[in-house]
C-alpha cells in the first residue's frame, strides 16, 4: 500500500530561517520534511511520509490571520495530503495559536484529519483544544522526542481510521467532551472501594482530579489600620452599569479596573453585577451589598482607615478557572504593590 501523504506546518525558528527577527516571514512551501519533520518522518516509517512542509513566521501569522490561513490552505491543498500536522509549539504562544488556527482551518476546509502539539498552558491550547487534537507536550523543545512520539502515534491512528481513545490514553489535552460509557461496577461500589483504600492508606486513583489550590503563609497583621491604604477587590462581578469591559457572566477571561474617584456610594443607576452565578437583583439594586464602597468611604472620612485605593478590581468568579483567576490577581497585584496598598478586602459571592 502506498505511503499516506502528510503535510507539516512549522514556524520560522524550526525551519531554521531565524528567530524573532524573522518572525515576519510570509508563508512558503518546501518539498519534503524540514526540521522536526525529519523526526516525524522517521517515526512514520513505512506508513506515511511528509511530502511537504509549510512555513510561516509567527508574527506574520498572528497579525494577518485570515490572509495567512488562506495562503497556507492553498499550498497545503496543492500537496494533496491525507493528514496535516502542526508544530509542536511547546510553550511558544504565537506559534501555538498559529498551529491551532491552521490545524482547525485545514480540518474545516480540506476535511482531513489534523493534529498539533503544545504545552497545556500555551494560549493556543485553550483556544483550540475543543476542535483540534492537541497532544500535551513539555514546555520546551527539550520535550521534542516525547512530543514526536505521541504525535506520530496519534497521527498513524488517525490515518488508519482507528477509534481515538480518551485524552489520558492518547495524550492529548482534554477537550471537555463527555462520552457516556458503562462502568463494569456501579458507582456506590467504586466509591466504597476507594474509601476503604484511603482508610487503609493504600494507593487509589481518583475518578475526578481536584484542582491544586496552593497555600501561602499569612501576612503579618497591618500595624496601624487607621493609617493603612486599603483596596477593594471582588469576584462578585461588580462593574459600572453597562459592563463597559464586557466581563463575561461566566468563565471570565478578564478583570476590570474601575475608578472610584468622587464615588461615595454605589447606586442602581451607576453600578451593577455582571456575575451570572447568583441572583443579581440585590447587587443590581445596591452594589454596596457586594463591594462595600459606601462603608469604606465613611471609614476613610472618620479616620478608621488611612485611605481607600482609588481603583477597585473586579471579575466574575462564576466558572472562572483557577488558572485565570491566579493570572488576574498576579497582574493587578503588581499595581497594588507599586501603589503601596497595604491590605485588600476581597468579597466573593
Amino acid at each position: 500500500m502506498s505511503k499516506k501523504r502528510v503535510v507539516h506546518y512549522i514556524n520560522q525558528f524550526f525551519a531554521q530561517i531565524g528567530g524573532e527577527e524573522m518572525a515576519h516571514v510570509q508563508p512558503e512551501y518546501r518539498e519534503g520534511p524540514v526540521g522536526p519533520g525529519l523526526a516525524f518522518n522517521a517515526s512514520f516509517g513505512e506508513h506515511a511520509e511528509i511530502v511537504g512542509t509549510v512555513i510561516c513566521g509567527d508574527s506574520y501569522f498572528n497579525e494577518n490571520m485570515e490572509e495567512a490561513k488562506a495562503e497556507l490552505i492553498e499550498m497545503i491543498d496543492a500537496a494533496k495530503p491525507d493528514l496535516f500536522i502542526a508544530g509542536p509549539a511547546f510553550n511558544a504562544g504565537r506559534y501555538g495559536v498559529a498551529c491551532g488556527a491552521i490545524a482547525e482551518a485545514v480540518q474545516q476546509q480540506l476535511n482531513i484529519p489534523v493534529l498539533t502539539g503544545m504545552y497545556e498552558e500555551n494560549p493556543g491550547a485553550d483556544m483550540y483544544k475543543t476542535n483540534v487534537y492537541i497532544i500535551s507536550t513539555r514546555n520546551s523543545a527539550v520535550g521534542m522526542r516525547d512530543a514526536v512520539k505521541k504525535m506520530s502515534a496519534l497521527a498513524l491512528k488517525m490515518l488508519r481510521d482507528d477509534t481515538i481513545g480518551s485524552s489520558i490514553e492518547e495524550g492529548y489535552i482534554p477537550q471537555g467532551i463527555r462520552v457516556n460509557l458503562f462502568e463494569k461496577e456501579r458507582g456506590s461500589k467504586r466509591a466504597v472501594d476507594m474509601l476503604l483504600k484511603k482508610l487503609k492508606g493504600e494507593p487509589f486513583t481518583t475518578e475526578y482530579p481536584m484542582p491544586d489550590f496552593d497555600r501561602v503563609d499569612p501576612r503579618p497583621a497591618v500595624k496601624d489600620i487607621s493609617k493603612a491604604k486599603i483596596a477593594l477587590v471582588t469576584s462578585g462581578g461588580i462593574v459600572p452599569l453597562g459592563n463597559p469591559d464586557h466581563i463575561e457572566s461566566s468563565s471570565a477571561t478578564k478583570y476590570g479596573k474601575y475608578d472610584l474617584l468622587g464615588v461615595d456610594d454605589l447606586t442602581q443607576a451607576t453600578y451593577a453585577t455582571a456575575h451570572g452565578g447568583y441572583d443579581p437583583s440585590y447587587a443590581n439594586a445596591d452594589a454596596d451589598r457586594v463591594l462595600a464602597l459606601d462603608t469604606l468611604r465613611e471609614f476613610e472620612a472618620a479616620g478608621k482607615i488611612g485611605s481607600l485605593y482609588r481603583y477597585f478590581f473586579s471579575t466574575v468568579g462564576n466558572g472562572t478557572s483557577v488558572k485565570s483567576a491566579k493570572a488576574f490577581a498576579e497582574d493587578f497585584s503588581k499595581e497594588l504593590i507599586k501603589e503601596n496598598v497595604q491590605a485588600v478586602i476581597l468579597t466573593s459571592t
Binding site: F213, R219, P220, A221, V222, I225, Y278, D294, L346, S348
Partner: protein, 66 residues
C-alpha cells in the same frame, strides 16, 4: 488580605488566611429584609470585623466569626 465570603469551606479550601463569614451569596454585605439604615449598620459591623482581621496576627487560616 481578608476574604469576606459566605461559603467559608470554599475560602478555606482555596487557602485564604483571614476569613470573615458574610450574610448570603447574593448579598454578602447586605440584607434586603432590613431597612436601608439597618443594612448599613450590618455592613459597617462586617467591614469593621474585616479591618480587625487585617490587624490581627494569625498563624494559620482563621475565621473571624465575631
Amino acid at each position: 488580605m481578608v476574604h469576606m465570603c459566605t461559603i467559608v469551606p470554599i475560602s478555606m479550601t482555596v487557602g485564604a488566611n483571614r476569613i470573615v463569614p458574610t450574610v448570603a451569596i447574593p448579598f454578602p454585605l447586605g440584607n434586603p429584609e432590613l431597612s436601608g439604615e439597618e443594612e448599613k449598620t450590618l455592613r459597617r459591623g462586617l467591614v469593621e470585623r474585616a479591618l480587625r482581621a487585617l490587624a490581627t496576627e494569625v498563624d494559620g487560616q482563621t475565621v473571624f466569626e465575631n
